[in-house]
Amino acid sequence: MKRLILTAFAVALGAGAAHAATLDDVKKKGFVQCGVTGGVPGFSAPDASNNWSGLEVDFCKALAAAIFNDPSKVRYSPLTSTERFAALSSGQIDVLSRTTTWTMSRDTTLGISFVGTMFYDGQGFMVRKADKIASAKDLSGASICIESGTTTELNAADFFAANKLEYKPIVFVSQDETVKAFEDGRCDVYTTDSSALAAERSKFAKPDDYLILPEIISKEPLGPVVRSGDDTWFKLARWTYYVLLEAEELGVSKTNVDEMKKSENPSIKRLLGAEGDFGTPLGLDKEWAYKIIKGVGNYGEIYETHVGPKTPIGLARGLNALWKDGGLQYSPPIR
């Protein structure tokens, strides 16, 4: 909370007023300052030696790879939901890649811009199997643990009002306390984005004792966010995300990217900088996409490594499959 006040002051005093040239600043300081979640396995979590990994973290790494040809040139700021926007608009971080739901009011009133949807998600409910609940409609009178300052809090209120059910929202500032209170039995239900429910469940001592209810009560498009007013930086972030998608679509991966450079496929040639120059307009060189793929891989690889069915989190691709596989992930053409 102290940090929140400080950042509010920083906003007020203009200590970190929105610079127009974020890319120049980043190049000058030599790393990307990236706001992430404190610890959701698969999305962003530090290991014992403070190496961060996860889907959201990999977006930061991709940015660093594009700019510095080195995915490790990132510094991470773990932020709570309540701190994140102030941290971004005050300039504490260059990009926010932290399970942030793209909503219209955030996009239009907070002075921030959403880069794209890295992860299509929806809000779900987790309960104890022992409570024998099969549907969210059975939750009348339940106590529900929620993290403060999230769309989750509003969706839950909408859902229970729409279904004329009573509930008690127990709202915590940080995710750790929210989950701990649920584990300790303070609440009957823990609600957040269903991907995060799966991630948190994987951390529990007995994951099999918990059940994620079938209802998905909201659309939660999660994606990275940058400050408004710096188009160069915004477009760099957006096309970094698209490169990840385009690479998967073209079958270019971390392992085969060097071979693929010799490919005769014009789309691949354009992507990897063998034909045309798509980096210079972004303030980078023409091998920028090659560096991203070499450094972190394509979207499919990132997904499979961190949250896919073979990980403890075990999320099927679903809506996050490429458009040609029946999902929603789609990159405008790189040409």
């Binding site: 007020a12 009133t109 907070l110 002075g111 300052g149 008690k168």
Partner: protein, 396 residues
């Protein structure tokens, strides 16, 4: 004086800028100007920056629908309420904790402070152990301890501890019956108020009686009897019926009755025990500051030891105790904001947490929150200063 100065040489003329009075004025004016300039510059900077960040600003959000629920409110509130109602809920919840916290912390502080000076080794050791342990652990950690330790110790809803078929304790809190009074109950209330007035008069009389005759009237026990019996008799005569809304297990939790959630219990207990340890030290210092001669003088007058403490030592100690205790009260009010971390919906949680995030009006929300804490702290300290002036040594 000036008239009679003819014999004296006039004071040497100095340039006006060397006149200490005028100099002082100039410096004050300069400082004032600097402060005003700083404030204007901050305000301007803020406006420009918010504009440049494409942020919407203003206080109009207060009249927008909040859209979120709060589980512990003193006034009616739902998701369809406005943000100003959410703000009010948060502020009242903060006030509730502050008032209860100050009450219990003072109680704990006085008992522990006096106990630490006790001649009884066990009592003073216990007090010392409590004070030294609690003072040296951060408040937030203690809150987490109380909250999660209490939760862990409590059974789940279906295995609640139940007393007298009506009081249930579980990890959702303490559920007690809610009394429902019928239409005759106001007679009892009036009787109680009359009894209270009578006790007040009795107290004056008993002091006068003591001063006149030297005989002690058993005031405390008489007062208690009056306060119990007069309303009691009226209760019987008026035939007031009281029914109880008893908590019943239904669905996920007990319904009906009054529910005290563990978040609330944890913050009140935690903050009272924490601040109490500091007040205890203040009380000890105050008592030690009263010269031992005062005790001896009181003994030589033949006062009982309880009277000695009540009539001679504490009143003098209060003068030393009040100023630092005011600081402790202010700390308590501000520390109540830590409750946000354990899920108690007070001002910081409801307003600086949820409201700020849903509206994005960081500057406005933080400003109002600071204003509220400032007002609270200022009221507490004004009240204490007023009390301090009343008990201060009047020099004649």
């Amino acid at each position: 004086m000036a008239k009679d100065d003819s014999t004296r040489t006039p004071a040497p003329k100095t340039a006006f800028y060397n006149d200490p009075v005028i100099r002082g004025r100039i410096y004050q004016a300069l400082v004032l100007l600097a402060v005003i300039a700083a404030i204007l510059s901050i305000a301007h900077n803020t406006a420009v920056n918010l504009e440049r960040q494409n942020k919407t600003t203003g206080f109009d959000f207060f009249w927008a629908t909040a859209g979120f629920d709060i589980f512990f409110t003193l006034i009616p509130y739902s998701r369809a309420s406005y943000y100003w109602e959410a703000f009010l809920v948060g502020m009242l919840n903060t006030l509730l904790v502050a008032v209860l916290g100050i009450f219990f912390a003072t109680l704990i502080g006085f008992v522990a402070g006096i106990a630490r000076l006790s001649g009884n080794f066990i009592i003073s050791s216990i007090a010392t152990f409590y004070i030294e342990t609690i003072r040296n652990i951060p408040a937030l950690l203690q809150l987490f301890f109380w909250y999660f330790a209490v939760l862990k110790a409590m059974p789940p809803v279906r295995e609640s501890f139940i007393f007298f078929d009506s009081i249930a304790i579980n990890n959702r809190g303490l559920n007690v019956p809610r009394p429902i009074f019928d239409g005759h109950f106001h007679y009892v209330v009036i009787a109680f108020l009359l009894a209270l007035a009578f006790v007040f008069v009795l107290r004056k009389w008993s002091i006068r009686h003591l001063e006149k005759t030297g005989q002690r009237f058993p005031f405390a026990s008489t007062a208690l009897a009056i306060l119990v019996f007069i309303p009691g008799i009226v209760w019987m005569l008026s035939g007031t019926q009281v029914t109880f809304d008893i908590p019943q297990l239904g669905g996920f939790n007990f319904r009906g009755g009054v529910n005290l959630p563990p978040e609330f219990v944890a913050i009140v207990v935690g903050i009272s025990i924490y601040t109490g340890s500091f007040i205890a030290e203040t009380v000890r210092a105050g008592i030690l500051a009263v010269n031992w001669g005062q005790t001896e003088a009181a003994q030589s007058l033949g006062l009982k030891s309880s009277d000695r403490l009540r009539l001679v030592i504490i009143p003098q100690a209060m003068r030393v105790i009040i100023p630092p205790m005011t600081n402790q009260y202010l700390n308590l009010v501000k520390n109540s904001s830590l409750a946000a971390a354990i899920g108690y919906p007070e001002l910081v949680s409801v307003f600086m947490g949820t409201t700020l995030n849903q509206t994005g009006r960081a500057v406005e929300v933080v400003f109002i929150t600071m204003l509220v804490y400032f007002t609270l702290s200022f009221s507490v300290s004004s009240l204490m200063n007023w009390y301090n002036r009343r008990v201060a040594l009047v020099e004649r």
